[in-house]
């Protein structure tokens, strides 16, 4: 009921354009000619039944699908970078994945300290200046509403944090490279209600800085924080409308 018969009315600049996107696992077609656009600096939630291809769609956007054996993609996916649209397949993988970050359903902190976890993407890019790293880590941890909880134990293992804290840490880690798009695969599904609400609060604050695409099973999450909702059914986007 809540998402039917709503017209798609883009209010902002388009960040991602999808045209005729097909995705196959071996011979099985998971995504069947998906079309659509995703607004910049907005939260778009993708909902749909289990196994319909929501996570696959996210993995197409940052080309993680390439790691799945026998997974193929056809069609056009363009992302707006520096005011022009670029096909994601023409971008170097590392560049694309820094521009399109991803947070998984189950928090996956790396087996290292909280500080090293958050600083990891910058270190990968060759940043060695400790002072700069400390500033950036502090900044993103504050954005992730985690700084006050961890500021005195940055050298502790990130694996000692609670599930909710770990998920916020993963979001902070993904945000440290200042991605243009952040993909979140059911970010609150493995957390209790309180931790889930904190994540929601965090995500609502992040959309000023990047475009968020969230896969979620929970309609209440989509209602509360989404700007628009897409339903993926039978491999296609069935509805594309603005959330109340």
């Amino acid at each position: 009921m809540p998402y039917t018969n709503r017209k798609f009315t883009p209010m902002k600049e388009t960040k991602i354009k999808i045209e005729g996107l097909n995705c196959y696992y071996q011979r099985k077609m998971v995504l069947k000619g998906c079309q659509g656009v995703f607004e910049e600096n907005a939260i778009t939630t993708i909902i749909g039944p289990s196994g319909v291809g929501k996570t696959t769609f996210l993995m197409v956007l940052n080309r993680l699908y390439e790691l799945i054996p026998n997974c193929r993609v056809a069609g056009k996916v363009e992302i707006r970078l520096n005011s022009r649209y670029v096909d994601i397949h023409s971008l170097p993988l590392a560049t694309l994945r820094k521009k399109v970050g991803m947070v998984f359903q189950v928090p996956n902190p790396l087996p290292m300290s909280i500080f090293k976890n958050v600083a990891f993407p910058l270190r990968l890019s060759g940043v060695k200046d400790r002072k700069y790293l400390e500033e950036k880590v502090k900044e993103v941890l504050k954005d992730a509403i985690l700084w006050d909880e961890v500021k005195d134990r940055l050298e502790d293992s990130a694996l000692k944090l609670s599930g909710g804290q770990q998920q916020r840490l993963c979001i902070a880690r993904a945000m440290i490279t200042q991605p243009d798009v952040l993909l979140l695969d059911e970010p609150t599904s493995s957390l209790d209600r309180e931790a889930g609400l904190k994540i929601e609060e965090l995500l609502a604050g992040l959309k000023e800085r990047c475009t968020l695409i969230i896969v979620s099973h929970y309609a209440d999450l989509t209602r509360r924080i989404s700007d628009s909702v897409v339903t993926l059914k039978d491999g296609r986007f069935q509805e594309h409308g603005n959330s109340p």
Binding site: K98, G101, Q105, P111
Partner: protein, 293 residues
């Protein structure tokens, strides 16, 4: 009926467990009972002073010290050869290998794991003859050939544990680094290997045990009696497993046989020492990375 079957299975499991522990207990007790009377410093260092022998100032000719040193050096060298090749092969199979090629590689790996050690020894021997004929007349069966042959023997343990531990990681963990912009190599080096170090060390522990006990390989590739401590990788050497085999098959007196039991206890001690060292390392790694699997 179901309940009865369940009780039957539990009792069977208990009995097999007890038999296994009992067998190990009997074996160890027998070994200790027979071997402990032979254990003393003169068995290890003979007439040579302990300090002189340890500092390599004098050669031990009538003790087991050269064999102990040879065994430890052989295990360490073989493991040093086997680790990079084994871990790299495991990573290749888990991360890079084409899906259609994987069954073939797995089959070949199973074949390698199933090759009797005497054949690996023969292969090492053939290599040494080939090198002697075509490369240098100074190359004979030696420490280097032995360690390489032993490394081949233990490779499957390291490859399998590395491959399986990497393969069993959840997709989200495997792709964490990649999703953050890491290259495949960075992902392997900074995330996958630290995550799996504990499991990889388990494979290395298994390999250490295999290196320590194997006699067939070294018998054909360089071990001899009375060779002393190896002075180079091309020299021959002594090893405890060979001493045990030699003394037990060709003893002249009861005293010599008891010395064989004593040597067995020493070999067991070397294994326990290396296992403990590896386990400490494994635990430290597990604590450091607090692996949550």
């Amino acid at each position: 009926m179901n309940r009865l079957t369940e009780y039957g299975v539990i009792i069977f499991a208990w009995i097999t467990g007890i038999i296994l522990i009992g067998a190990i207990g009997v074996l160890l007790s027998f070994l200790l009972y027979k071997g402990i009377p032979a254990l003393n410093l003169s068995m290890i260092f003979g007439e040579t002073g302990t300090l002189d022998a340890l500092l390599l100032r004098k050669t031990v000719v009538d003790g087991l010290f050269p064999a102990i040193a040879g065994t430890i050096l052989l295990i360490i060298t073989s493991i040093i050869w086997a680790i990079p090749v084994g871990v790299a092969s495991g990573i290749y199979l888990a991360e890079y290998c084409n899906v259609s090629w994987k069954p073939l590689f797995n089959f070949l790996l199973d074949v390698l794991a199933g090759i009797p050690s005497i054949l690996v020894g023969l292969f090492g021997f053939a290599i040494s003859i080939f090198l002697h004929r075509h490369l240098s007349e100074h190359i004979y069966p030696c420490f280097l050939i032995s360690s390489l042959a032993l490394a081949c023997l233990v490779l499957p343990y390291i490859i399998r544990t590395t491959e399986q531990s990497l393969g069993n990681l959840p997709f989200s963990v495997k792709t964490t680094g990649l999703a953050l912009g890491a290259s495949r190599l960075q992902n392997i080096l900074f995330i996958l290997i630290p995550y799996n170090l504990s499991s990889i060390i388990s494979g290395i522990i298994l390999a250490i045990g295999r290196c320590a006990e194997d006699t067939a390989v070294i018998m054909l590739t360089g071990v001899v009696a009375m060779a002393g401590i190896p002075t180079s990788v091309l020299s021959q050497y002594e090893a405890i497993p060979f001493y045990i085999f030699y003394i037990s098959s060709d003893y002249n007196s009861q005293e010599e046989l008891i010395k064989g039991f004593g040597a067995s206890i020493i070999l067991l001690g070397i294994c326990v020492f290396l296992f403990t060292l590896s386990n400490i390392l494994k635990k430290k790694v597990a604590i450091r990375f607090a692996i949550h699997k």
